[in-house]
Amino acid sequence: MEKEKTRIEDIKRNIYDMKNKDESSYKTSSGLTKEIIEEISDEKNDPDWMREFRLKSLEIYNKMPMPSWGPDLSGLDMNNIVTYVRPNTNMKHDWNDVPKDIKKTFDLLGIPKAEHESLAGVGAQYDSEIVYHNVSDELKKQGVLYMDMETAIREHEDLVRPLFMKLVPPTDHKFAALHGAVWSGGSFVYVPEGVQVKIPIQSYFRLNAPGAGQFEHTLIVVEKGASIHYIEGCSAPKYYVNNLHAGCVECYIREGASLKYSTIENWSRNMYNLNTKRALVDKNAHVEWVTGSFGSKVSMLYPMSILKGEGARCDFTGITFAGAGQYLDTGSKVVHAAPNTTSVVNSKSISKDGGVSIYRGLLGSTKNAVNAKSSVSCESLMLDSKSRSDTIPIVSAANNNVDIGHEAKIGRISDDAIFYLMSRGLTEEEAREMIVTGFVEPVAKELPLEYAVEMNNLIKLELKGTIG
């Protein structure tokens, strides 16, 4: 008898794939030249230091080679990527003022509803500019700053300038240099000393224009003893030209502070998602990354935590789901650079229908990292033999007073587990669904409820017949 396999349905993309007519008010021409950078700078009314920074970054970009490892980026033709697209609106603080088609997009994505129900602040970026930004009065009273990056640069230069692209310098890699040259939009978050923000804030990035790039810059500063939960969502409709997302996230977490950074990334399947995220964690501070990578054609994303202060902690929980035509090269980097630092990395990946999912990790400890403790665990699930799943971790130690453990497993759903559940009265379909749900559960439980529901919808099981 021919066996039929369990089908795990692909992510339903209908709401994400909805596209609006490209009605942007201003666009740079495609490609990358000094003139284009100047144009962006003019358009954004950059202060001089920023204009210089952009031009410097362009120089670095032109000098740097493409990455010599990882996914194939030859489909990415920088000459065809439009680096700056301004939507036909100014930034609003009330959803009713946001142009109809743009609001409709965010309505369908559930952003205003989520804001109403469970968020303390929301930013929404459409193409290159933030179109909506709002923060609850309560947060304003506490002195929390949450605004678009351009406003922050104009109004809070003292806070922004010393930190902007210091953690991820343009020399870091080619796409960091590109980001430095053409960045636009993104959010600035500043939580003053001792302020505990109980309700999460969220930025949603939407790329509508075809053949464009999105290069938002996010800068988060959590001062001494403060805490906040920041949520980032990304999506874009599918066009037949390749889009590029090369964002940059820099997080400064001061002594005793904590930041939780959750991302659900569901870019369309023509997106090159080459994003850089980095956190600098001071004494007794804590960073927690929760990341779900479902979309994009190619992803290279490895949130990095630098545990700089004694007793700093890092938790990373990630899930990657690669379907047909996707090459998702994701992972995490943790550098223990101080005594008594700890990190826990937990990564899961599922690949199906020819999708490629790769865990690439770095776990490093410097000479100072006395008594550093770290544990890394990676699990990969292959749902068919057309797909690929690789685990490429690096475990590095430069002093003997560390305790580092790394383990990884790769494989299929175990027949024993299915058999056990069936012996308890479940059908095979139920058993399988339970196992896959259980597989992603550690990530799901770290997400806010509506995101967990969204993720579970993304990984919906469709079962038929017996399973092989």
Binding site: I394, N399, I410
Partner: protein, 391 residues
């Protein structure tokens, strides 16, 4: 002995090219990662490639009566043409293509072994390479062709008695394990702190055959080894048992790869390491499940003990997978010696060094036990004492 002139001129040619090179990138990872970490290859700058002369001492040691029906020859006595049939392994990893070419065309020692079908050899053939002022360089090429259901064990020892002599070894061992055969290759490297040691090993494993690699790395200033096993056949298997001690200012780069092609193939890598003083070590291990290798299993575990705050260790355990129905695992643990164990042993009257040695020996012993030569096991234990307790 035919030391044919052709071989000699080839060797001269290859070596003169290597001498010009100075800059070597060895153990190049076939799945590279972040370049800035410098772990994609082992980079040696300003390396002066030595002059390679003949190796004139006896190195083969075996019981003649056991090897009666076995084709066993000093590789130098074989016509170069009859070796060309054994130069496959196009995609195998190695120390470097240059180094393999040197061993294939410029060897000065080695054996060629062909074991007939069903022949079980319980006594090993041993190769003992004593590198000294008369014979400061060994370029060995060893070829083992195991017929169906045969069994053979090769034990190779590279050693120096003189602590100051600068010596050089580059080797290549190729194993063709016919269906149902078992091939054991045991390599012990205990050369001095001025030695250079490069060793590439490759195996092609047919249906139901098994290759066991045992590698003990105790010495050399630069130690670069590479093991590549291609599990071609159904139910083929390959294991690596590896123990290393790196101390002083020595540098070591190990790269092990197991490629699963056949169905139900199995592999294991067990690596026990100790780093001391200012030692630097990189270990890369690949388990690669190729498409079609369904129901295969591969496991890898590396444990690294760090004895001093000045050591540096990098481990890249890769799992590559293009097949759904497989089971792959790897684990790595890095840390210092368990203080409770030390404390317990010291409360029983051992001094610090002895206690440390005991704990390390306990880790190494499952691997040392696989060295089928009592004198070698004794040497290893003494060597461990010398390096851990006395120094």
């Amino acid at each position: 002995m035919i030391d044919n002139k052709e071989n000699l001129s080839k060797r001269k040619n290859i070596i003169s090219k290597l001498k010009d090179k100075k800059d070597f990138r060895l153990n190049e990872a076939y799945v590279p990662t972040w370049k800035h970490l410098g772990l994609n290859n082992f980079h040696i700058k300003d390396y002066n490639f030595p002059e390679i002369n003949e190796y004139n001492a006896d190195y083969m040691d075996f019981k003649a009566e056991d090897f009666k029906n076995v084709y066993l020859k000093d590789i130098r006595e074989i016509d170069g043409k009859s070796l060309t049939g054994y130069s496959s392994f196009k995609d195998a990893t190695s120390v470097s293509k240059d180094f393999v070419r040197l061993a294939e065309n410029g060897f000065n020692s080695g054996v060629f072994l062909k074991i007939p079908e069903n022949k079980i050899l319980n006594s090993p053939i041993r190769l003992n390479f004593n590198l000294n002022s008369q014979n400061p360089s060994v370029i060995d090429q060893n070829i083992i062709v195991a017929g169906p259901n045969s069994k053979i064990t090769l034990v190779v020892d590279y050693y120096t008695e003189d602590g100051d002599m600068e010596v050089f070894h580059n080797g290549l061992t190729k194993v063709f394990a016919g269906s149902g055969s078992e091939v054991n290759v045991v390599k012990v490297q205990r050369m001095n702190n001025r030695a250079s040691h490069f060793d590439s090993n490759m195996a092609e494993v047919e249906d139901g055959a098994k290759v066991n690699w045992v590698t003990v790395e105790m010495g050399s200033k630069i130690n670069v080894t590479n093991y590549n096993s291609d599990l071609k056949g159904q139910r083929s298997s390959a294991d690596i048992y590896s123990a290393y001690l790196v101390d002083g200012d020595r540098k070591q780069d190990l790269y092990y790869t197991t490629n699963h092609f056949g169905k139900e193939s199995t592999s294991n890598m067990i690596i026990e390491g100790v780093l001391k003083d200012r030692a630097k070590k990189v270990f890369k291990g690949n388990i690669d499940f190729k498409m079609g290798s369904s129901k295969s299993k591969g496991a890898q575990a590396e444990e690294v003990l760090l004895l001093d705050p000045t050591v540096k260790t990098d481990t890249i355990p890769m799992l590559l997978c293009q097949e759904e129905d497989v089971d792959g695992q790897h684990a790595a643990s890095v840390g210092k010696i368990d203080e409770n164990q030390l404390f317990y042993l010291m409360s029983r009257g051992f001094d610090y060094g002895e206690a440390e040695k005991l704990i390390i020996e306990a880790r190494f012993s499952p691997i040392f036990d696989r060295v089928p030569a009592e004198n070698l096991r004794k040497f290893l234990s003494e060597e461990l004492r010398r390096r851990i307790v006395n120094e």
